[in-house]
Amino acid sequence: MKARILILVMALLGLHACKQTTAPKAATLQALVDKKVWLFCDSIETEKINVIQNAPMLLHRLHALLPQFSLAKDSATRALIQCRLGDLYLSCRKKDSALAYGELALPYFEMHPDFKKPLFYCYKVLGITLAQLRDDIFRSNYYATKAAAICMAPGADTLLPLQERVQAISAAANTNTYCGYNGQSVKFARTAMRLVENHAGDLPSFYGRAIQAYIIALLLDNKPDSARTYLEREEKWIAQSHYTLQLNEFYTNKTSYFYIVKQYDSALLYALKTDWTVDPFQEAYTKLELYTLLKQPEAARANLDRATQLIAGNDPPMDMLRDFYHHKTRYDIWYGTRQGAENSFSMFDSLQMEVSNQERSRMAASLESEYNLGEKQKAIDNLRQADRQAKEEIRGKNLMLTITILGCLLCAFIIVALLLFSRQAKLRNLATLTRADRDKLALEQRLLRTQMEPHFIFNTMAAMQSLVYLNQNEKAIAYLNKFGRLLRGSIEHSREDYVPVAEEIEMLEDYVSLQAIQSDNSFDYVIRTYEGFEEDDTRIPPMLLQPFVENAILHGVRNLPYRGHVEIIIAKQEGVLDCLIRDNGSGLKGPGTGTRKSLSIQITRERLSALTRETGYPARLELIDNTATGLQGTTVHLVIPFI
């Protein structure tokens, strides 16, 4: 019973432990996302499908999936689809769509930052698209930096493919460059560079992008020597691999490098190598600057004119315009008129002012947006924390509940155990009690059966005293001898469980004769035994017959109006002694039937039944009232099994 309860409790504890350990693991993204969608997205991500080639098909399928997951419980699925869409649109260079889906997906994954991969894609998409849009460089930098941070976190190498990491970190280097965080930019660019260093052959576009970003970062950070090392490396690589897609950027970088190290002729060389078709205005003013610095006024003049034309025809960005006037002012000072120089300078000055104003306001706006983003992040963090707290609270409550339940169970178990224990203890007590009772009873029996009644002893002594007083000295001595023998026998037998029948009969004779003397021989007695009892080794418990003989004398034959008579008959039968104690008194209804008598009867019965158990022979105790059959007195019939 106890063991079963214990097992139950253990099982419950185990169950609980299992629940506890499995609960947090269940919260993987896979479990939250529709299985089909998960597999599909996973296959896109791991590029088992050629993304660029199949982009329209993939976009179509993703768009078809999206409306199926509109419920709150589908938020993870939806966010994942949106994230994938953003990334796909980025691959297809559809900046606006990429931005839109990136922004849609981001909130969910910002709330669940454990899902690092989709969060990374969101950040990457947003960082790159915003940077390409040149709209909000600080926001783009914020996202790109976050994406890069995920790529640089430990364990990212297993989480994300190398290309993705290089792309994101390079992007972060670029955005930091735009923001003027040159140190940061160098750091990112270097990281990207190191990642891709050994992949110049198999990932040329990433290698090229990384090395260029690094060169730009180094140049801007005013480390032209380091930049030259990488430029040389890039040059070598381009020559070896014939990878020409980024050749133009390489030339631009070279130009920038030589410009910075003031080797204007080399700069011009590379500027002339550069294909400026995408940015003719930049070509014009770059060449203007270089020709000016190389003191070739004609060539400079030609570029100046070209630039002026381009300004008139297009609407170049303010900062470029400013740079143009900056270069033009120098030209005017060196080769032009004083008036032209003044004009150019005032133009530059106002543009500079405007640009700086613009920059300042943009900076302010960007900083604000950055701040807002930070705030948003903080809010998200707060929300997340609140969520975590709530979860913890729930977990705590669950724990409390579990503890309470377990506590209850434990209490119940303890109570049951205690009840069982106490019951057992009680039973044991009962057993001991009964054993104690039995011991007590046995002791009582022992005393009763072996001890001469104090009354008898003192009365006997009083009787002897009277004999002495009456000068019946011989009688007194005989009396004393008998008494001594009886007392000795009593003491000796008190230590024995079984005594020879002969001794018991002798003691009975002594006892009866002493009683007869005490009552002034007011009754006769006779003891009949079987032949040869003196030599018989038969043994019986001591003092079994004595109480009945005593009873026959004290309550039977003493103080009778006629002469009393006590007869004791002991016969040996198969395994038993058959004893009769017969008196001619007033029968059982007569006076002097006390509690002591009934107690002695009870004790005798117990002793007899013990004897039956021991020997297997039936015992018997029967009290017969002779007056009921028209005779006198009482007959006690005792059947004592002997050993």
Binding site: P454, H455, F458, N459, A462, D520, L554, N559, G592
Partner: protein, 242 residues
Amino acid sequence: MEILIVDDNIAIQHTLTFLISKLPGCTVAGRCGSIAEASTFLGSTSVDLVLLDIELQDGTGFELLDALPDINFKVIFITAFDQHAIKAIKTGALDYLLKPVDEEEFRAAITRAGRQARQSAEQLSIAREHMSPTPVSNRIVLREYNVIRVLSYNDILYCYSHNGYTNFFLTDNRKITVSRSIKEYEQMLPPSVFIRVHQSYIININYIDFYNREGFIVLKNSLEVPVSVRKREEVVKTITNL
């Protein structure tokens, strides 16, 4: 002095007869072996003293006294071995003899009986009360020289033993000195009311004010009673069970 012997043991009858015969001025008025016999005898014959066995064939000695309308004789009880009866007799401040009878004791008892006034009915009834297997009495008899005092347990504040005498200090500030040992009173007084706290002191637990752990009890009359070291545990137990 006319003396009646009531004892169912013939030998005792012989002995007592012999001992009485040796005392001047004392004669055996009769010998009875049962209550019925004695009752008949006393109904017709006037005696000065009855030597009364407590346990007789047809009842106890007290039953004989109950059966008589008027007890105009002195009683000395006789018993072989009956602790309970002896206690009851003592509580009633009655006299008794033990079997086998010691001649010296016998003579002293007879002499005492001759000298003292007859026991009161109250003494007998108190002894009778204490004879019942579960005594309900709350009284005890004290014999101070020739004065018999019946006290309720509530009257007794404490007992103090001195030179073999026992001094009873009562709630009304009286003092009664009895020529019995405090040990005898310890046996007589019920442990539910009295406790022997010291070799020389028995106190009534109802009058305990408090127990000082330094080893004395303060009674409600402010008297300090010392508690012997051996008794402290018992005393504390008794007090906490009050």
